[in-house]
């Protein structure tokens, strides 16, 4: 077991992130939260302190805007300089139809899910590489494993982020910095409430427990959660393209 007790969470108010933070708070972690809404961050902070977090700092910024990254990173360096884990947990999944018909929406999806994520992780990667320690974890998606008719814009952005993490993992390996790609299946959060069958999606608390376990223990480089998705996706990846292109899911 690797002891990690100081964590930076990017996108701290996302549905999965709040559950992860709760689990970490119970174990007495020090947390630094980055999210957009100062009010939500304040509510989260109060909750996590009561649940046992040792310290909770928060910084309100829009991670999708790369010009704000330097200020975020500065804040982290001043407030929690010896952080050992970074968890990137933000993302956006808009209506696929809209992303197909509006280039603005398409570019915004890529900006949020991929471009800005790589930019902020690059800052943290350089720092951890220099310190030769720590862990970078990012939440991508099983949707990034294969381009599907119904969700390929979100899927391609998350898939690209998975590839980026794969490369980053290899780059940081010599420095002893771990990089974990977290690929959740569909989870019951605000992001997915509008989808059909949302009631059957995974419980975010369960997904969060698996993420925490991955952060704290030596774990596979790629975490599928719930675990069954590792097997489902290995099947999905095997379907020949000539057949796959005819499937409408």
């Amino acid at each position: 077991m690797i002891m990690m007790k100081k964590i930076v969470i990017l996108g701290a108010t996302s549905g999965i992130a709040v559950e992860v933070e709760r689990a970490l708070a119970r174990q007495g972690y020090e947390l630094l939260l980055v999210g957009r809404s100062p009010q939500r961050l304040a509510e989260l902070r109060a909750d996590l302190l009561i649940r046992g977090a040792k310290t909770v700092a928060s910084y309100a910024a829009d991670l999708a805007l790369i010009q704000q990254h330097a200020a975020i990173f500065d804040f982290v360096r001043h407030t929690l300089p010896d952080y050992d884990t970074v968890l990137l947990a933000y993302g956006s999944m808009r209506d696929q139809r809209e992303s197909e018909t509006s280039v603005d929406v398409l570019l915004d999806e890529l900006q949020v899910n991929f471009v800005s994520a790589t930019a902020i992780l690059t800052l943290f990667a350089a720092d951890l590489e220099q310190r030769c320690t720590g862990c970078i974890a990012a939440i991508t998606s099983v949707a990034g494993d294969r381009g599907r008719r119904s969700n390929y814009i979100y899927g391609s952005a998350k898939g690209a982020l998975s590839l980026f993490l794969q490369g980053l993992r290899s780059r940081l390996y010599p420095a002893g910095v771990r990089v974990i790609t977290i690929k959740p299946g569909p989870v019951q959060t605000s992001m997915t409430d509008h989808l059909p069958n949302a009631a059957r999606f995974a419980d975010p608390g369960r997904v969060a427990r698996q993420i925490v376990r991955a952060l704290e223990h030596r774990s596979p480089d790629v975490l599928y959660t719930p675990r069954i998705w590792r097997y489902i996706m290995s099947g999905v990846r095997q379907i020949p393209e000539t057949i796959f292109k005819r499937l409408s899911f």
Binding site: R40, D47, I50, S92, S190, H194, A199
Partner: protein, 453 residues
């Protein structure tokens, strides 16, 4: 969501899920809903309220109300489960500020290890703070602590008409008294300040006493209420006039240093076929239960969860009652009317339709704080009836008559079928409650018992 700008869209609206069927704990009635809002943050609630049609919404917590008081057939619900944050805690006084979707279970998990417990707890820990307030729930300590609502110091209420309203005994006190026991109709509770209680640890010094008549129950109750903080009785509803049962009483134990391990019980894996619950199987169960406990009588130390929440140890026990679900009957009968209690027990025994787990408790004399609170001085009886169609409804109707004649009342949180006349008799003040209802709120229960639209 067409027509919105990209940045505005990134602000995720609280989505209306297309879920149609939402059930209450009794799984009767089966109602379809137009949609369920699931706000994850309090700042999303005002928008939901403002954009809704009049009489179209109802806050929903963990769905542990048995009947239709937590349902809104054909209309919308606001699922408050994700509004589950603690916002503040004063370690010296035990005053907790929590959002309305926090469950009592969560409060216990976080605060019992620090020596604090709920001031009042119902028989399940899986209810939300909002639900506990909206139904002004009571527990085994009603005779000394009153209802949950009497430990709520302050609330903030989202109202569609006048925004976030703070209510306490000094400020908007009437709105506080309407909201306590107000069945969710006065608005969505944003947060509530609850006074927790100091305890030494997770153990209960319990005492079990078997009894063989209503008289001896009353004697036990009278004699124990002064010595024990918690008292309740289980009754065999097949025993009728020769009532038998087990009297449970307890106090928080001094810290013994004994280690406590929470255990997670089994889960009811499927809906039990209806024929498996019949008068023979239930009689056999009640017999076995009585004999088992009659043998274990005397003082014993129990973990708090098996003392307060024996049913929570089987998750989803409501599936035991089969596809059609079940109805619960909980009434209070003024104490000087023992004949009515006996008649009620007799009728249930003769019907052969009663089920296990009948509960009998003597309420204390403290007046409840809510305008529509159920607890009042007298004897309260709670029983389950598997839903078997018309004959179940007829039996319960005949029980209603006894309750009404005795000057008693029925508990809305448990009800799915009482008629408007009995509601009127149970809550004669309901008309003075009406002005406090939020114009956007309504419920299946409310429309049924008041004829509101």
């Amino acid at each position: 969501m067409p027509g919105q700008s990209a940045v505005a869209l990134r602000k995720q609206p609280a989505a209306l899920s297309p879920t149609t069927q939402v059930l209450s704990w009794g799984r009767y009635p089966k109602t379809a809903h137009a949609g369920v809002h699931k706000p994850a943050w309090n700042d999303q609630v005002p928008e939901i309220l403002q954009t809704a049609a009049p009489d179209s919404l109802l806050p929903y917590g963990l769905g542990r109300s048995y009947g239709d008081s937590c349902l809104n057939a054909g209309r919308g619900l606001i699922d408050c489960k994700r509004l589950n944050r603690f916002l503040g805690f004063d370690e010296s006084s035990g005053l907790l500020r929590s959002e309305s979707g926090v469950s009592l279970s969560d409060i216990i998990d976080v605060f019992l290890p620090r020596g604090w417990f709920l001031p009042v707890t119902p028989g399940t820990r899986f209810v939300t703070v909002g639900g506990a307030i909206a139904n002004d729930v009571h527990g085994k300590n009603h005779h000394c602590a009153g209802t949950f609502g009497s430990h709520v110091r302050q609330i903030a209420l989202h109202r569609s008409s006048d925004g976030l309203v703070t209510c306490s005994s000094n400020e908007n006190a009437d709105m506080l008294h309407a909201t306590i026991g107000g069945l969710g109709l006065t608005g969505v509770i944003s947060w509530a300040d609850i006074q927790l209680k100091r305890v030494a640890g997770p153990w209960i010094d319990a005492d079990l006493v078997p009894f063989q008549s209503l008289r001896s129950f009353l004697d036990l109750s009278r004699e124990s209420d002064g010595r024990f903080e918690y008292t309740v009785a289980w009754i065999d509803c097949f025993s009728g006039k020769n009532l038998r049962g087990i009297f449970f009483c307890g106090n928080h134990a001094a810290d013994s240093g004994k280690e406590f391990h929470a255990k997670r019980g089994p889960k009811m894996p499927f809906v039990l076929p209806a024929w498996m619950l019949n008068r023979y199987s239930v009689k056999a169960f009640n017999n076995a239960y009585y004999r088992l406990h009659a043998r274990k009588t005397g003082a014993t130390v129990l973990p708090y969860d098996s003392f307060f929440y024996p049913l929570d140890s089987i998750r989803q026990w409501n599936l035991l009652y089969g596809k059609q679900g079940f109805l619960q009957f909980q009434c209070v009968i003024p104490e000087n009317n023992l004949a009515a209690v006996e008649e009620l027990l007799d009728r249930i025994a003769h019907s052969g339709m009663g089920s296990f787990l009948g509960v009998l408790k003597q309420f204390g004399s403290a007046p409840s704080v809510g305008m529509l609170s159920f607890p009042r001085p007298g004897l309260t009886i709670a029983l389950d009836f598997a839903m078997r169609g018309e004959r179940t409804l007829q039996l319960m109707q005949s029980l209603d008559e006894i309750v009404q004649q005795s000057g008693g009342a029925l508990y809305p949180a448990k009800d799915a079928r009482m008629n408007p006349a009995l509601f009127e008799a149970s809550f004669p003040r309901w008309r003075s409650f009406v002005p406090y209802i939020d114009p956007k709120m309504s419920s299946s229960f409310w429309r049924r018992v008041t004829g509101a639209q």
